[in-house]
Protein backbone atom coordinates (compact mmCIF):
# COMPACT_ATOMS: atom_id res chain seq x y z
CA UNK A 1 0.00 0.00 0.00
CA UNK A 2 1.47 3.35 -1.06
CA UNK A 3 1.08 6.78 0.41
CA UNK A 4 -0.61 8.91 -2.23
CA UNK A 5 -1.27 12.01 -0.15
CA UNK A 6 -0.16 15.28 -1.71
CA UNK A 7 1.54 17.95 0.32
CA UNK A 8 3.09 15.63 2.89
CA UNK A 9 6.74 14.70 2.79
CA UNK A 10 9.56 13.52 4.97
CA UNK A 11 12.28 16.07 5.62
CA UNK A 12 15.78 14.71 5.20
CA UNK A 13 18.90 15.32 7.24
CA UNK A 14 20.24 18.27 5.23
CA UNK A 15 16.80 19.89 5.17
CA UNK A 16 16.36 19.43 8.90
CA UNK A 17 19.79 20.94 9.53
CA UNK A 18 18.94 23.97 7.40
CA UNK A 19 15.55 24.37 9.07
CA UNK A 20 17.35 24.20 12.43
CA UNK A 21 19.74 26.95 11.37
CA UNK A 22 16.90 29.19 10.20
CA UNK A 23 15.01 28.57 13.44
CA UNK A 24 17.96 29.26 15.69
CA UNK A 25 18.78 32.53 13.89
CA UNK A 26 15.15 33.56 14.14
CA UNK A 27 14.89 32.81 17.85
CA UNK A 28 18.16 34.54 18.56
CA UNK A 29 16.96 37.76 16.86
CA UNK A 30 13.63 37.80 18.63
CA UNK A 31 15.14 36.92 22.02
CA UNK A 32 17.49 39.88 21.61
CA UNK A 33 14.30 41.95 21.55
CA UNK A 34 13.24 40.35 24.82
CA UNK A 35 10.61 38.02 23.41
CA UNK A 36 9.70 34.93 25.42
CA UNK A 37 9.49 31.75 23.37
CA UNK A 38 6.19 29.93 23.67
CA UNK A 39 4.27 27.11 22.02
CA UNK A 40 0.51 27.05 21.78
CA UNK A 41 -1.39 23.72 21.94
CA UNK A 42 -1.51 21.44 18.90
CA UNK A 43 -5.27 21.11 19.21
CA UNK A 44 -7.73 23.95 19.31
CA UNK A 45 -11.49 24.26 19.60
CA UNK A 46 -13.17 24.33 16.20
CA UNK A 47 -16.02 26.50 17.47
CA UNK A 48 -13.66 29.22 18.70
CA UNK A 49 -11.91 29.39 15.34
CA UNK A 50 -15.16 29.28 13.41
CA UNK A 51 -16.25 32.30 15.40
CA UNK A 52 -13.09 34.39 15.04
CA UNK A 53 -11.78 33.29 11.65
CA UNK A 54 -14.81 32.15 9.66
CA UNK A 55 -12.78 32.38 6.46
CA UNK A 56 -10.63 29.47 7.68
CA UNK A 57 -13.63 27.19 8.21
CA UNK A 58 -12.96 24.99 5.21
CA UNK A 59 -9.20 25.26 5.31
CA UNK A 60 -8.76 23.97 8.86
CA UNK A 61 -7.87 20.33 9.51
CA UNK A 62 -10.55 18.90 11.81
CA UNK A 63 -10.41 15.94 14.08
CA UNK A 64 -12.75 14.52 16.69
CA UNK A 65 -11.84 14.28 20.35
CA UNK A 66 -12.59 11.21 22.48
CA UNK A 67 -15.69 12.99 23.83
CA UNK A 68 -17.03 13.84 20.38
CA UNK A 69 -15.97 17.49 20.31
CA UNK A 70 -14.61 18.80 17.02
CA UNK A 71 -11.01 19.95 17.29
CA UNK A 72 -8.75 21.61 14.75
CA UNK A 73 -5.00 21.16 14.37
CA UNK A 74 -3.30 24.50 15.17
CA UNK A 75 -4.52 26.72 12.31
CA UNK A 76 -2.65 29.74 13.62
CA UNK A 77 -0.75 30.90 16.68
CA UNK A 78 -2.07 34.40 17.33
CA UNK A 79 -5.55 33.50 18.52
CA UNK A 80 -4.60 30.98 21.25
CA UNK A 81 -1.70 33.21 22.27
CA UNK A 82 -3.91 36.26 22.78
CA UNK A 83 -6.56 34.16 24.50
CA UNK A 84 -4.05 32.60 26.92
CA UNK A 85 -2.43 35.97 27.60
CA UNK A 86 -5.80 37.45 28.47
CA UNK A 87 -6.44 34.60 30.93
CA UNK A 88 -3.01 34.38 32.54
CA UNK A 89 -1.91 38.04 32.44
CA UNK A 90 -5.08 40.05 32.98
CA UNK A 91 -3.39 43.44 33.64
CA UNK A 92 -4.30 45.35 30.49
CA UNK A 93 -1.26 47.64 30.69
CA UNK A 94 1.25 44.80 31.06
CA UNK A 95 3.78 44.52 28.25
CA UNK A 96 4.06 40.98 26.89
CA UNK A 97 6.45 39.96 24.12
CA UNK A 98 6.15 36.47 22.72
CA UNK A 99 7.90 34.63 19.95
CA UNK A 100 7.34 31.17 18.50
CA UNK A 101 8.25 28.63 15.85
CA UNK A 102 5.43 26.14 15.36
CA UNK A 103 3.90 23.94 12.72
CA UNK A 104 0.70 25.49 11.42
CA UNK A 105 -1.77 23.13 9.78
CA UNK A 106 -2.94 25.06 6.77
CA UNK A 107 -2.24 24.64 3.08
CA UNK A 108 0.39 26.79 1.46
CA UNK A 109 1.69 27.17 -2.07
CA UNK A 110 5.09 28.31 -3.21
CA UNK A 111 6.17 28.45 -6.81
CA UNK A 112 7.02 24.77 -6.88
CA UNK A 113 6.16 23.62 -3.40
CA UNK A 114 2.89 22.74 -1.79
CA UNK A 115 2.19 21.53 1.69
CA UNK A 116 -0.69 20.74 3.99
CA UNK A 117 1.20 22.34 6.85
CA UNK A 118 4.13 24.68 7.28
CA UNK A 119 6.53 25.90 9.86
CA UNK A 120 5.64 29.37 11.03
CA UNK A 121 7.87 31.69 13.00
CA UNK A 122 6.61 34.92 14.45
CA UNK A 123 6.17 37.32 17.29
CA UNK A 124 3.34 39.13 19.03
CA UNK A 125 3.79 42.19 21.23
CA UNK A 126 0.86 42.86 23.53
CA UNK A 127 0.28 45.94 25.63
CA UNK A 128 2.10 48.56 23.57
CA UNK A 129 -0.05 50.76 21.36
CA UNK A 130 2.72 53.07 20.20
CA UNK A 131 3.74 53.57 16.56
CA UNK A 132 7.28 52.80 17.72
CA UNK A 133 6.10 49.30 18.65
CA UNK A 134 4.91 48.90 15.03
CA UNK A 135 8.38 50.00 13.99
CA UNK A 136 10.05 47.46 16.25
CA UNK A 137 7.87 44.65 14.87
CA UNK A 138 8.83 45.54 11.30
CA UNK A 139 12.49 45.92 12.20
CA UNK A 140 12.50 42.50 13.87
CA UNK A 141 11.21 40.97 10.63
CA UNK A 142 13.96 42.72 8.67
CA UNK A 143 16.61 41.67 11.19
CA UNK A 144 15.62 38.02 10.90
CA UNK A 145 16.05 38.08 7.12
CA UNK A 146 19.32 39.95 7.57
CA UNK A 147 20.56 37.28 9.95
CA UNK A 148 19.74 34.68 7.30
CA UNK A 149 21.73 36.62 4.67
CA UNK A 150 18.58 37.41 2.70
CA UNK A 151 19.68 40.86 1.60
CA UNK A 152 17.29 42.00 -1.11
CA UNK A 153 14.05 42.52 0.69
CA UNK A 154 11.18 44.92 0.28
CA UNK A 155 8.89 45.91 3.11
CA UNK A 156 5.49 47.26 2.09
CA UNK A 157 3.69 49.09 4.85
CA UNK A 158 0.09 50.24 4.83
CA UNK A 159 -2.49 51.39 7.29
CA UNK A 160 -5.99 50.07 7.64
CA UNK A 161 -6.86 53.05 9.86
CA UNK A 162 -6.50 55.33 6.83
CA UNK A 163 -9.00 53.44 4.70
CA UNK A 164 -11.26 52.84 7.71
CA UNK A 165 -11.38 56.61 8.30
CA UNK A 166 -12.13 57.23 4.64
CA UNK A 167 -15.00 54.75 4.63
CA UNK A 168 -16.33 56.18 7.90
CA UNK A 169 -16.50 59.58 6.21
CA UNK A 170 -18.43 58.38 3.16
CA UNK A 171 -22.14 58.95 2.78
CA UNK A 172 -22.80 55.45 1.53
CA UNK A 173 -24.99 52.64 2.77
CA UNK A 174 -23.21 49.91 4.77
CA UNK A 175 -23.99 47.42 2.02
CA UNK A 176 -22.30 49.62 -0.58
CA UNK A 177 -19.24 50.07 1.63
CA UNK A 178 -19.06 46.32 2.12
CA UNK A 179 -19.02 45.73 -1.65
CA UNK A 180 -16.37 48.37 -2.22
CA UNK A 181 -14.17 47.02 0.55
CA UNK A 182 -14.49 43.49 -0.74
CA UNK A 183 -13.36 44.46 -4.23
CA UNK A 184 -10.64 46.66 -2.77
CA UNK A 185 -9.30 43.84 -0.59
CA UNK A 186 -9.29 41.46 -3.56
CA UNK A 187 -7.82 44.23 -5.72
CA UNK A 188 -10.39 43.30 -8.32
CA UNK A 189 -9.86 46.53 -10.21
CA UNK A 190 -12.40 45.69 -12.91
CA UNK A 191 -15.29 45.12 -10.52
CA UNK A 192 -14.09 47.84 -8.13
CA UNK A 193 -13.99 50.57 -10.75
CA UNK A 194 -17.30 49.51 -12.24
CA UNK A 195 -18.97 49.52 -8.83
CA UNK A 196 -17.34 52.77 -7.71
CA UNK A 197 -18.48 54.57 -10.85
CA UNK A 198 -22.04 53.36 -10.31
CA UNK A 199 -22.17 55.19 -6.96
CA UNK A 200 -22.87 58.89 -6.92
CA UNK A 201 -19.65 60.02 -5.31
CA UNK A 202 -17.57 63.03 -6.20
CA UNK A 203 -14.83 65.31 -4.96
CA UNK A 204 -11.83 64.22 -2.92
CA UNK A 205 -13.60 61.15 -1.53
CA UNK A 206 -14.18 59.81 -5.04
CA UNK A 207 -10.62 60.64 -6.09
CA UNK A 208 -9.30 58.90 -2.98
CA UNK A 209 -11.35 55.76 -3.56
CA UNK A 210 -10.30 55.69 -7.18
CA UNK A 211 -6.63 56.05 -6.28
CA UNK A 212 -6.26 53.78 -3.25
CA UNK A 213 -5.96 50.38 -4.96
CA UNK A 214 -3.00 51.78 -6.91
CA UNK A 215 -1.64 53.98 -4.13
CA UNK A 216 1.68 52.27 -3.52
CA UNK A 217 5.33 52.96 -4.18
CA UNK A 218 8.26 54.81 -2.67
CA UNK A 219 7.78 56.27 0.80
CA UNK A 220 7.94 60.04 0.32
CA UNK A 221 5.97 60.27 -2.93
CA UNK A 222 3.25 57.88 -1.84
CA UNK A 223 2.87 59.51 1.55
CA UNK A 224 2.44 62.99 0.11
CA UNK A 225 -0.17 61.69 -2.34
CA UNK A 226 -1.96 60.02 0.55
CA UNK A 227 -2.12 63.36 2.38
CA UNK A 228 -3.87 64.90 -0.62
CA UNK A 229 -6.67 62.36 -0.38
CA UNK A 230 -7.49 63.01 3.28
CA UNK A 231 -11.11 63.95 3.81
CA UNK A 232 -10.99 64.02 7.61
CA UNK A 233 -8.76 64.39 10.64
CA UNK A 234 -8.66 60.64 11.28
CA UNK A 235 -7.09 59.96 7.90
CA UNK A 236 -4.39 62.50 8.65
CA UNK A 237 -3.80 60.98 12.08
CA UNK A 238 -3.31 57.58 10.49
CA UNK A 239 -0.62 59.06 8.26
CA UNK A 240 1.05 60.91 11.14
CA UNK A 241 1.25 57.65 13.01
CA UNK A 242 2.73 55.94 9.97
CA UNK A 243 5.42 58.62 9.83
CA UNK A 244 6.44 57.85 13.42
CA UNK A 245 6.69 54.17 12.59
CA UNK A 246 8.78 55.03 9.57
CA UNK A 247 11.11 57.14 11.72
CA UNK A 248 11.76 54.14 13.96
CA UNK A 249 12.65 52.03 10.92
CA UNK A 250 14.81 54.84 9.55
CA UNK A 251 16.81 55.11 12.78
CA UNK A 252 17.16 51.34 12.88
CA UNK A 253 18.74 51.44 9.44
CA UNK A 254 16.12 49.75 7.28
CA UNK A 255 14.43 52.76 5.65
CA UNK A 256 15.82 51.91 2.21
CA UNK A 257 13.77 48.69 2.22
CA UNK A 258 10.48 50.43 2.93
CA UNK A 259 7.71 51.23 0.48
CA UNK A 260 4.12 52.16 1.18
CA UNK A 261 0.96 50.43 0.04
CA UNK A 262 -2.40 51.92 0.96
CA UNK A 263 -4.20 49.26 -1.03
CA UNK A 264 -3.78 46.67 1.73
CA UNK A 265 -7.36 46.55 2.85
CA UNK A 266 -8.58 44.08 5.34
CA UNK A 267 -12.00 42.77 4.57
CA UNK A 268 -12.39 40.99 7.85
CA UNK A 269 -11.62 43.84 10.20
CA UNK A 270 -8.95 41.85 12.00
CA UNK A 271 -6.19 44.42 11.56
CA UNK A 272 -6.91 47.84 12.99
CA UNK A 273 -3.96 49.98 11.97
CA UNK A 274 -0.51 49.29 10.52
CA UNK A 275 -0.23 46.30 8.18
CA UNK A 276 2.88 45.10 6.39
CA UNK A 277 4.27 42.44 4.12
CA UNK A 278 7.85 41.53 3.37
CA UNK A 279 8.88 40.33 -0.09
CA UNK A 280 12.20 38.79 -0.89
CA UNK A 281 13.93 39.43 -4.16
CA UNK A 282 12.74 37.28 -7.01
CA UNK A 283 10.02 35.43 -5.11
CA UNK A 284 6.45 36.13 -6.12
CA UNK A 285 4.94 35.60 -2.68
CA UNK A 286 5.32 37.38 0.62
CA UNK A 287 7.34 35.55 3.26
CA UNK A 288 6.28 37.68 6.21
CA UNK A 289 3.05 39.44 6.94
CA UNK A 290 1.69 41.13 9.97
CA UNK A 291 0.17 44.18 11.51
CA UNK A 292 -1.62 45.74 14.44
CA UNK A 293 -4.81 44.20 15.80
CA UNK A 294 -5.93 46.23 18.79
CA UNK A 295 -9.43 44.82 19.24
CA UNK A 296 -8.86 41.06 19.35
CA UNK A 297 -7.79 40.79 22.99
CA UNK A 298 -10.85 42.72 24.19
CA UNK A 299 -12.96 39.86 22.92
CA UNK A 300 -11.27 37.69 25.54
CA UNK A 301 -11.99 40.19 28.29
CA UNK A 302 -8.75 42.20 28.40
CA UNK A 303 -8.68 45.33 26.28
CA UNK A 304 -5.03 45.28 25.24
CA UNK A 305 -3.42 46.50 22.00
CA UNK A 306 -1.34 44.04 20.00
CA UNK A 307 0.96 43.90 17.03
CA UNK A 308 2.87 41.05 15.42
CA UNK A 309 3.84 39.09 12.35
CA UNK A 310 4.10 35.56 11.05
CA UNK A 311 6.65 34.15 8.66
CA UNK A 312 6.15 31.08 6.51
CA UNK A 313 9.50 29.35 7.00
CA UNK A 314 8.77 26.75 4.30
CA UNK A 315 8.33 29.49 1.70
CA UNK A 316 11.45 31.22 2.91
CA UNK A 317 13.26 27.89 2.68
CA UNK A 318 12.15 27.50 -0.95
CA UNK A 319 13.43 30.98 -1.71
CA UNK A 320 16.74 30.41 0.10
CA UNK A 321 17.21 27.12 -1.68
CA UNK A 322 16.61 28.77 -5.10
CA UNK A 323 18.93 31.64 -4.18
CA UNK A 324 21.71 29.29 -3.06
CA UNK A 325 21.58 30.55 0.52
CA UNK A 326 21.29 27.15 2.16
CA UNK A 327 24.27 25.22 3.35
CA UNK A 328 25.28 22.02 1.59
CA UNK A 329 24.95 18.62 3.12
CA UNK A 330 27.62 17.55 5.53
CA UNK A 331 28.13 13.77 5.73
CA UNK A 332 26.44 12.35 8.80
CA UNK A 333 29.63 10.45 9.82
CA UNK A 334 32.98 12.14 10.06
CA UNK A 335 34.43 8.67 10.35
CA UNK A 336 32.85 5.35 9.38
CA UNK A 337 34.59 2.11 10.32
CA UNK A 338 33.98 -1.24 8.66
CA UNK A 339 35.10 -4.19 10.74
CA UNK A 340 35.45 -7.89 10.19
CA UNK A 341 34.95 -8.45 13.91
CA UNK A 342 34.05 -5.96 16.61
CA UNK A 343 35.95 -6.05 19.89
CA UNK A 344 36.51 -4.18 23.13
CA UNK A 345 39.26 -1.95 21.77
CA UNK A 346 37.12 -0.77 18.80
CA UNK A 347 34.12 0.02 20.99
CA UNK A 348 36.36 1.86 23.45
CA UNK A 349 37.86 3.95 20.62
CA UNK A 350 34.40 4.81 19.31
CA UNK A 351 33.33 5.98 22.76
CA UNK A 352 36.44 8.13 23.16
CA UNK A 353 35.95 9.74 19.72
CA UNK A 354 32.33 10.55 20.49
CA UNK A 355 33.30 12.03 23.85
CA UNK A 356 35.72 14.22 21.93
CA UNK A 357 32.77 15.46 19.88
CA UNK A 358 33.15 13.46 16.66
CA UNK A 359 30.40 11.73 14.71
CA UNK A 360 31.59 8.14 14.33
CA UNK A 361 30.16 4.64 14.00
CA UNK A 362 31.29 1.14 13.05
CA UNK A 363 29.57 -1.54 10.99
CA UNK A 364 30.27 -5.06 9.78
CA UNK A 365 32.18 -5.20 6.46
CA UNK A 366 29.12 -6.69 4.78
CA UNK A 367 27.06 -3.53 5.38
CA UNK A 368 26.90 -1.05 2.50
CA UNK A 369 27.63 2.51 3.60
CA UNK A 370 27.01 5.22 1.02
CA UNK A 371 30.22 7.17 0.47
CA UNK A 372 28.23 10.43 0.68
CA UNK A 373 27.43 9.56 4.29
CA UNK A 374 31.00 9.80 5.63
CA UNK A 375 34.06 12.00 5.29
CA UNK A 376 36.64 9.40 6.29
CA UNK A 377 36.42 5.65 6.00
CA UNK A 378 38.65 3.04 7.60
CA UNK A 379 38.67 -0.73 8.03
CA UNK A 380 39.21 -2.31 11.44
CA UNK A 381 40.87 -5.70 11.69
CA UNK A 382 42.47 -7.39 14.71
CA UNK A 383 43.08 -4.20 16.66
CA UNK A 384 44.47 -2.22 13.70
CA UNK A 385 42.86 0.45 11.49
CA UNK A 386 43.56 0.45 7.75
CA UNK A 387 43.00 2.97 4.96
CA UNK A 388 43.77 1.09 1.75
CA UNK A 389 46.86 -0.82 2.91
CA UNK A 390 48.14 1.86 5.25
CA UNK A 391 48.02 1.07 8.96
CA UNK A 392 46.71 3.77 11.30
CA UNK A 393 46.29 4.26 15.02
CA UNK A 394 43.15 5.64 16.66
CA UNK A 395 45.04 8.88 17.39
CA UNK A 396 45.96 9.30 13.71
CA UNK A 397 42.31 8.87 12.66
CA UNK A 398 41.27 11.43 15.25
CA UNK A 399 43.86 13.81 13.84
CA UNK A 400 42.33 13.34 10.35
CA UNK A 401 38.90 14.19 11.71
CA UNK A 402 40.23 17.31 13.38
CA UNK A 403 41.57 18.50 10.05
CA UNK A 404 38.16 18.18 8.29
Amino acid sequence: MNNTLDGVKMLHHDEMRNYDRIQSKLTSVIMNHGCKIIETPSFEDYDVYRHFFPQLRQEMVKTIDTDGRVLVLRPDVTLPLVETAAREFPRADQLLKFGYVSTVFREYYGRSTYGKDFLQGGIEILGDASPECDGEVIVMAAEILDALSVKHIRIDIGTVAYTDALFAGLSLAEEQKKHLRKYMAERNLVAYTKYLDSLSLEGVAYQALKAIPMLFGSYAVTLSKAYEYCINKEMQQALKRLEKTYDYILYAGYADKVQLDFGFASQLGYYTDMVFKVYVDGALYDVIDGGRYDTLSAQFGVDRPACGFGMNINLLYEFMSDAGLLEGTEPSFQLAISYSESDQSLIRDLMIWRRHGFRVAAYPCSTFIDSRDYSIHAVYENGIYYQETKQLTAQELEEQMRRL
Binding site: Y109, G110, R154, L189, L284, Y285
Partner: protein, 211 residues
Protein backbone atom coordinates in the same frame (compact mmCIF):
# COMPACT_ATOMS: atom_id res chain seq x y z
CA UNK B 1 12.68 44.08 -15.88
CA UNK B 2 11.05 41.63 -18.22
CA UNK B 3 7.48 40.55 -17.72
CA UNK B 4 6.10 37.06 -18.14
CA UNK B 5 2.58 36.70 -19.48
CA UNK B 6 0.46 33.54 -19.68
CA UNK B 7 -2.19 33.61 -22.39
CA UNK B 8 -5.16 31.27 -22.75
CA UNK B 9 -4.61 29.32 -25.96
CA UNK B 10 -6.99 30.09 -28.80
CA UNK B 11 -8.89 33.25 -29.62
CA UNK B 12 -7.55 35.25 -26.68
CA UNK B 13 -3.91 34.41 -27.35
CA UNK B 14 -4.28 35.26 -31.04
CA UNK B 15 -5.83 38.65 -30.35
CA UNK B 16 -3.35 39.64 -27.66
CA UNK B 17 -0.39 38.53 -29.80
CA UNK B 18 -1.74 40.59 -32.71
CA UNK B 19 -2.04 43.62 -30.42
CA UNK B 20 1.52 43.19 -29.21
CA UNK B 21 2.90 42.75 -32.73
CA UNK B 22 0.99 45.81 -33.95
CA UNK B 23 2.51 47.80 -31.12
CA UNK B 24 6.02 47.00 -32.19
CA UNK B 25 6.86 43.94 -30.13
CA UNK B 26 8.54 41.42 -32.39
CA UNK B 27 8.26 37.72 -31.63
CA UNK B 28 10.50 36.04 -34.21
CA UNK B 29 9.52 32.48 -33.26
CA UNK B 30 5.79 33.08 -33.02
CA UNK B 31 3.28 32.20 -35.68
CA UNK B 32 -0.39 31.36 -35.21
CA UNK B 33 0.04 27.69 -36.04
CA UNK B 34 3.41 27.17 -34.40
CA UNK B 35 3.59 24.39 -31.85
CA UNK B 36 5.99 26.33 -29.69
CA UNK B 37 4.50 27.32 -26.35
CA UNK B 38 6.90 29.98 -25.17
CA UNK B 39 8.04 33.12 -26.99
CA UNK B 40 10.18 36.10 -26.16
CA UNK B 41 10.20 39.41 -27.97
CA UNK B 42 13.35 40.77 -29.58
CA UNK B 43 13.81 43.44 -26.93
CA UNK B 44 13.48 40.76 -24.21
CA UNK B 45 10.84 42.76 -22.40
CA UNK B 46 7.96 40.30 -22.71
CA UNK B 47 7.90 36.56 -22.42
CA UNK B 48 4.66 34.89 -23.49
CA UNK B 49 3.53 31.42 -22.52
CA UNK B 50 0.52 29.74 -24.13
CA UNK B 51 -1.41 27.55 -21.72
CA UNK B 52 -4.81 25.91 -21.50
CA UNK B 53 -7.28 28.44 -20.17
CA UNK B 54 -8.00 26.92 -16.72
CA UNK B 55 -4.24 26.84 -16.08
CA UNK B 56 -3.69 30.58 -16.60
CA UNK B 57 -4.70 31.44 -13.04
CA UNK B 58 -2.51 28.64 -11.65
CA UNK B 59 0.55 30.05 -13.44
CA UNK B 60 -0.18 33.54 -12.22
CA UNK B 61 -1.12 32.66 -8.66
CA UNK B 62 2.02 30.61 -8.15
CA UNK B 63 4.22 33.24 -9.74
CA UNK B 64 5.26 31.13 -12.73
CA UNK B 65 3.89 34.08 -14.74
CA UNK B 66 3.43 37.70 -13.69
CA UNK B 67 0.20 38.32 -15.53
CA UNK B 68 -2.31 36.30 -17.50
CA UNK B 69 -5.17 36.85 -19.89
CA UNK B 70 -8.11 34.49 -19.67
CA UNK B 71 -11.88 34.46 -20.15
CA UNK B 72 -13.95 35.60 -17.19
CA UNK B 73 -16.09 32.46 -17.61
CA UNK B 74 -13.03 30.32 -16.90
CA UNK B 75 -12.06 32.48 -13.93
CA UNK B 76 -15.48 32.07 -12.36
CA UNK B 77 -15.92 28.40 -13.23
CA UNK B 78 -12.48 26.95 -12.63
CA UNK B 79 -10.44 29.43 -10.62
CA UNK B 80 -12.86 30.94 -8.14
CA UNK B 81 -10.48 30.65 -5.21
CA UNK B 82 -7.35 31.87 -6.98
CA UNK B 83 -5.48 34.59 -5.12
CA UNK B 84 -4.81 36.92 -8.03
CA UNK B 85 -5.74 40.50 -8.85
CA UNK B 86 -8.15 41.12 -11.71
CA UNK B 87 -6.79 44.31 -13.21
CA UNK B 88 -8.30 44.88 -16.65
CA UNK B 89 -11.36 44.05 -18.70
CA UNK B 90 -9.91 43.63 -22.19
CA UNK B 91 -13.28 43.78 -23.85
CA UNK B 92 -12.25 41.01 -26.23
CA UNK B 93 -13.32 37.38 -26.45
CA UNK B 94 -16.86 38.35 -25.50
CA UNK B 95 -19.45 35.64 -25.13
CA UNK B 96 -22.77 35.00 -23.42
CA UNK B 97 -23.90 32.22 -21.17
CA UNK B 98 -27.38 30.91 -21.86
CA UNK B 99 -29.90 28.30 -20.83
CA UNK B 100 -31.14 26.40 -23.88
CA UNK B 101 -33.69 23.67 -24.45
CA UNK B 102 -35.36 21.75 -27.27
CA UNK B 103 -37.03 24.24 -29.62
CA UNK B 104 -40.73 24.56 -29.00
CA UNK B 105 -40.76 22.30 -25.97
CA UNK B 106 -41.84 23.89 -22.69
CA UNK B 107 -39.73 23.10 -19.66
CA UNK B 108 -41.58 22.99 -16.36
CA UNK B 109 -39.32 25.04 -14.15
CA UNK B 110 -41.42 24.48 -11.03
CA UNK B 111 -40.15 20.90 -10.85
CA UNK B 112 -36.61 19.72 -10.26
CA UNK B 113 -34.92 19.77 -13.64
CA UNK B 114 -31.73 18.25 -14.96
CA UNK B 115 -29.09 20.49 -16.49
CA UNK B 116 -26.25 19.38 -18.75
CA UNK B 117 -23.29 21.74 -18.82
CA UNK B 118 -19.55 22.27 -19.02
CA UNK B 119 -19.99 25.00 -16.40
CA UNK B 120 -21.50 23.38 -13.29
CA UNK B 121 -20.53 26.20 -10.93
CA UNK B 122 -21.95 28.98 -13.08
CA UNK B 123 -25.07 26.92 -13.83
CA UNK B 124 -25.69 26.12 -10.19
CA UNK B 125 -25.26 29.75 -9.19
CA UNK B 126 -27.74 30.89 -11.81
CA UNK B 127 -30.43 28.38 -10.88
CA UNK B 128 -29.94 28.94 -7.17
CA UNK B 129 -30.30 32.69 -7.58
CA UNK B 130 -33.54 32.06 -9.43
CA UNK B 131 -34.82 29.55 -6.86
CA UNK B 132 -34.97 26.55 -9.17
CA UNK B 133 -34.06 23.07 -7.97
CA UNK B 134 -31.68 21.39 -10.34
CA UNK B 135 -29.48 18.34 -10.78
CA UNK B 136 -26.35 19.18 -12.68
CA UNK B 137 -24.65 16.78 -15.05
CA UNK B 138 -21.12 17.85 -15.84
CA UNK B 139 -20.28 17.21 -19.50
CA UNK B 140 -17.04 17.92 -21.29
CA UNK B 141 -18.26 18.75 -24.79
CA UNK B 142 -21.09 18.40 -27.32
CA UNK B 143 -23.40 19.63 -24.60
CA UNK B 144 -26.17 20.23 -27.19
CA UNK B 145 -26.72 16.49 -27.37
CA UNK B 146 -27.89 16.18 -23.78
CA UNK B 147 -31.54 17.30 -24.21
CA UNK B 148 -31.87 15.46 -27.53
CA UNK B 149 -30.89 12.09 -26.11
CA UNK B 150 -32.85 12.71 -22.94
CA UNK B 151 -29.82 13.13 -20.66
CA UNK B 152 -31.05 16.51 -19.41
CA UNK B 153 -34.01 18.89 -19.66
CA UNK B 154 -31.91 21.92 -20.55
CA UNK B 155 -28.30 22.87 -21.07
CA UNK B 156 -26.22 25.81 -19.87
CA UNK B 157 -23.53 26.78 -22.32
CA UNK B 158 -21.70 29.61 -24.02
CA UNK B 159 -23.55 30.89 -27.05
CA UNK B 160 -21.77 32.93 -29.67
CA UNK B 161 -23.86 32.87 -32.85
CA UNK B 162 -26.48 30.30 -31.88
CA UNK B 163 -25.76 28.29 -35.06
CA UNK B 164 -24.72 25.13 -33.24
CA UNK B 165 -27.87 25.29 -31.11
CA UNK B 166 -30.16 25.73 -34.12
CA UNK B 167 -28.42 22.97 -36.07
CA UNK B 168 -29.26 20.62 -33.22
CA UNK B 169 -32.85 21.77 -32.81
CA UNK B 170 -32.28 23.80 -29.65
CA UNK B 171 -33.36 27.32 -28.72
CA UNK B 172 -32.05 29.81 -26.20
CA UNK B 173 -34.47 30.08 -23.28
CA UNK B 174 -32.55 32.76 -21.42
CA UNK B 175 -29.30 34.65 -21.76
CA UNK B 176 -28.02 35.35 -18.27
CA UNK B 177 -24.40 36.41 -18.17
CA UNK B 178 -21.90 38.20 -20.41
CA UNK B 179 -18.22 37.44 -20.29
CA UNK B 180 -15.08 39.00 -21.64
CA UNK B 181 -11.35 38.38 -21.34
CA UNK B 182 -9.68 39.61 -18.16
CA UNK B 183 -6.12 40.41 -17.30
CA UNK B 184 -5.12 38.90 -14.00
CA UNK B 185 -1.97 39.64 -12.07
CA UNK B 186 0.20 37.99 -9.47
CA UNK B 187 -0.20 39.88 -6.20
CA UNK B 188 3.51 40.54 -5.82
CA UNK B 189 4.29 41.23 -9.50
CA UNK B 190 1.55 43.84 -9.36
CA UNK B 191 3.84 45.88 -7.16
CA UNK B 192 7.28 44.87 -8.33
CA UNK B 193 6.48 45.30 -12.03
CA UNK B 194 3.75 47.92 -12.01
CA UNK B 195 5.45 50.05 -14.66
CA UNK B 196 5.73 47.17 -17.12
CA UNK B 197 2.17 46.13 -16.37
CA UNK B 198 0.81 49.62 -16.97
CA UNK B 199 2.74 49.78 -20.23
CA UNK B 200 1.03 46.55 -21.35
CA UNK B 201 -2.39 47.79 -20.26
CA UNK B 202 -1.73 50.89 -22.31
CA UNK B 203 -0.86 48.81 -25.38
CA UNK B 204 -4.02 46.78 -25.06
CA UNK B 205 -6.27 49.78 -24.49
CA UNK B 206 -4.83 51.58 -27.49
CA UNK B 207 -5.30 48.57 -29.76
CA UNK B 208 -8.84 48.13 -28.48
CA UNK B 209 -9.61 51.74 -29.29
CA UNK B 210 -8.22 51.29 -32.80
CA UNK B 211 -10.13 48.06 -33.32
Amino acid sequence: MSIHMALAKGRIAKTVMTYLQKSGYEFPTYSEDSRKLIFEDVGQTIKVTLVKSPDVAVYVERGAADIGVVGEDVLIEECSGADVYEILDLGIGCCRMAVAGIAGKKVDMTKRITVGTKYPRIARQYFENNHHSVDIIKLNGSVELAPIVGLSDVIVDIVETGNTLRANGLDVLQYFMDFSARMICNTVSFKLKIDEIQQLIHVIKRNNAEA
